[in-house]
Symmetry: C2
Subunit: 454 residues, 2 copies
């Protein structure tokens, strides 16, 4: 039996409940599920409205498409036929017309014909954001003690979900071109040598403008990653979960085609995208293109979850795509975010450009995140002097330590910071980076004093 | 490793996929998850548009609130503040204003003050339909080989979900007043005597106008059921999952208060309702009032699922409740469904009233279902002569055998039929029952021939 008090914080409970607080017999899964550390950051931001949050991965409020959404819904709901279709139950796998539209959307983005990679609308499933697809993919593949390979660092909500499902993570090192194929090969070889390959179920990576680093896997490495996974699919097929949530938020050069482009038999890659980042998170609509023999297991699980995500918002996104309103919204967002990214990079150059060795940051071509690395001596963690100081100065960031899964074979770096330019306005971004720079300089100066002789 | 071919039906696959078809290493959970038998019925109905379906549990198309929904969304999306709130991410537990409104809604329905049963908005969680809450409650309480008590028969999607999570079911006999307290006590006593009480995690029941029987648990039995569960909560607390999905679809007399009414410490009962049946399934919005110490485990799981259901449709339901449009829609639906229920009962009286002993059906005060029992010699199952004959006559029903969970201790009755008056129009209901009656009479006549001497 478990005690959930640790999660309750300091909320008071009536005595008669306290007495019985822990006497449900929770499942093993529940006992493996912990509060996301980022919820603590969210609370901080809520309790202190003067705090500039460069932490949250929310999207820009000012660009949300209220008027367009109103118009599209008006059209859908003013015709009795479409109104009753949109308000009735849908199918578990999602609206067929939307799935067909999304198949074309993938074709346009990647320059492929569906036949090139052996896919059809049957292979496309719509979920409540792409998070639900991540959860379900974990649920159909992971048994406790299985292993997931993941970029190091990576998107923490999914690695925490995997931990709750009982998986262990093995981190794959990255450089400015994404995960390193040699590192992937070396980890798989080690697992193979140890006889652990049967436990390796998937490789997870955010292939465009990664959360948290902003790094895109280079075009050259994409087929290499697939080939390595194919080579080690000896015991069973290992799935590549390609999370392309940020793909359409690409600001300068064109994005390379999806890893899925090279998976011509539709066997190894689940390609996941979402309308949350490029349109509106409030519609909670994600979608995935899956290897054919994963579709039924995924849809059966989803049947148990909810037998289908909200049908009304699926009709909305169908209309948004067909009218071109979606595509227009994406261009608008890209201009807005590109500007905010530039503001944040300029502010970092201004404030931290001269600080010297050991301080550097990524220069992403899209997405919502810049990743800042400090000298190894500067702890950025939730319990660190720097984190407290940043809050005192009036800003909050995501400590890099949150962005690493539970890989038992390696230590977690604690000298990094995830910065998001998603929600804050340009002025706030500048001020937020000034405050962060003051905090960093103060802590680095203290460190020098502490470490200098005498 | 598993072969999913059985689920694929006879869809053709390209040869190169067939070769590899079963070489993902699926999880134990995936291997326990099977296609819902009702999906077969849905396909039948789709393939044969002349078939009158009295099978589907969908809601009436003609009463779906298209114009009202359009107006409410227009209001929400025409103000920049509410528009951006509705289109942004929400919270995992759901919109706080909606949760507050739903707490009052529960007060009005049950005639309680929240303080009477020790609940607050903190104990209310919003999900993607109530199905998602059912899934999550299973996930936080069930380990493989745990036991769930369930009305016998019961709502089959949930018992199938529980089976996928590894649970066994123990059926509790019902009569026209709902589950029998003596039967509940006897099953628990047997489990206790066998030392199996530690595996018993929940009692599941649909307390109003049950799916599939239409039966409501009587007012007198509600506190008795709770007392029995309390008495056997020796090893740990056993949860009562009170699924009140059909509560607001009550047509004649007033509905008794929820079982939750008697759970004054908010300890034993999770009370689940939904907007799917009384408003529109397309919003996929359900809600549950949970024992306080279940809230965090449930919300943590939901965080892994989707970190919140569609925020836009939550804003819609908030506006529907505040403007009274929701309440108006419920009255409208009740008149429409009450009429269709009467049409179906009249048709059954006309067509089967004289057929004699062993043929009887329920007379529900609400919901969408009437449950028909035939003599034990008449098999109603998917493979039966009656089922085929009914399709030949041009109607389809849900075989009663689908409505029983996997209780290894007892045989599943196969002489029952679930009839729904939800989707079909009055004329279709009459014709559908005529066709069913023809099929039943034909099969019963054959049975008499077969069994008569000479």
């Amino acid at each position: 039996m478990m005690n959930w008090q640790g999660l309750e914080g300091d909320k008071p409970h009536p005595a008669q409940i306290m007495d019985r607080m822990s006497d449900f017999a929770f499942s093993q899964r529940a006992s493996r599920t912990h509060a996301q550390p980022i919820s603590y950051l969210m609370q901080q931001a809520l309790h202190n409205p003067n705090l500039i949050s460069l932490a949250a991965g929310l999207v820009d409020y000012t660009t949300l498409p209220g008027a367009d959404t109103a118009e599209l819904l008006q059209q859908i709901l003013s015709s009795p036929n479409t109104a009753s279709a949109a308000l009735q139950y849908g199918t578990t796998e999602g609206l067929i017309e939307l799935r067909a539209e999304l198949l074309s959307h993938f074709e346009q983005l990647n320059g492929w014909q569906s036949a090139d990679i052996n896919v059809s609308t049957d292979d496309l499933v719509i979920t409540t954001g792409s998070q639900q697809m991540l959860f379900i993919l974990g649920d159909v593949l992971i048994d406790p003690d299985d292993i997931v390979l993941s970029a190091w660092p990576s998107y923490f909500v999914f690695t925490d979900t995997l931990a709750s499902q009982g998986a262990q993570v093995r981190g794959i090192d990255m450089d400015e071109q994404g995960i390193r194929p040699e590192a992937l090969d070396a980890v798989l070889k080690q697992l193979d040598d140890a006889g652990d390959l049967p436990r390796v179920k998937m490789l997870y990576l955010v292939s465009y403008h990664q959360n948290p680093t902003g790094i895109t896997l280079s075009a050259e490495r994409r087929p290499q990653v697939l080939q390595i996974i194919q080579r080690y699919s000896k015991d069973h097929r290992i799935l590549i979960v390609e999370d392309a949530a940020y793909r359409e938020l690409t600001y300068n050069n064109e994005a390379p085609p999806s890893i899925k482009r090279y998976d011509t038999g539709n066997e190894y890659v689940a390609l996941l995208q979402t309308f949350s980042k490029p349109f509106a998170p409030g519609v909670r609509c994600g979608y995935g293109l899956l290897p054919h023999d994963l579709v039924d297991p995924v849809v059966l699980q989803k049947g148990n979850h909810d037998f289908g995500s909200a049908n009304l918002t699926q009709h909305l996104m169908l209309a948004a795509l067909r009218t071109g309103i979606y595509q227009h919204q994406v261009s608008k967002l890209c201009s807005s975010y590109a500007h905010k990214r530039d503001v944040m990079l300029d502010a970092l150059d201004d404030q931290l450009g001269e600080i010297g060795d050991g301080v550097h940051w990524t220069r992403p071509n899209g997405g919502l995140y810049i990743y800042l690395t400090l000298p190894p001596s500067v702890d950025t963690g939730r319990a660190s002097a720097l984190f407290r100081r940043a809050i005192e100065e009036g800003m909050i960031y995501v400590p890099g330590e949150f962005c690493y899964g539970n890989d038992p074979t390696r230590p977690i770096p604690n000298n990094q910071i995830r910065l998001s330019f998603g929600v804050a306005e340009p002025d706030q971004i500048r001020t937020g980076i000034e405050r962060l720079a003051r905090a960093i300089k103060a802590i680095m100066a203290q460190n020098v004093q502490v470490h200098s002789p005498g």
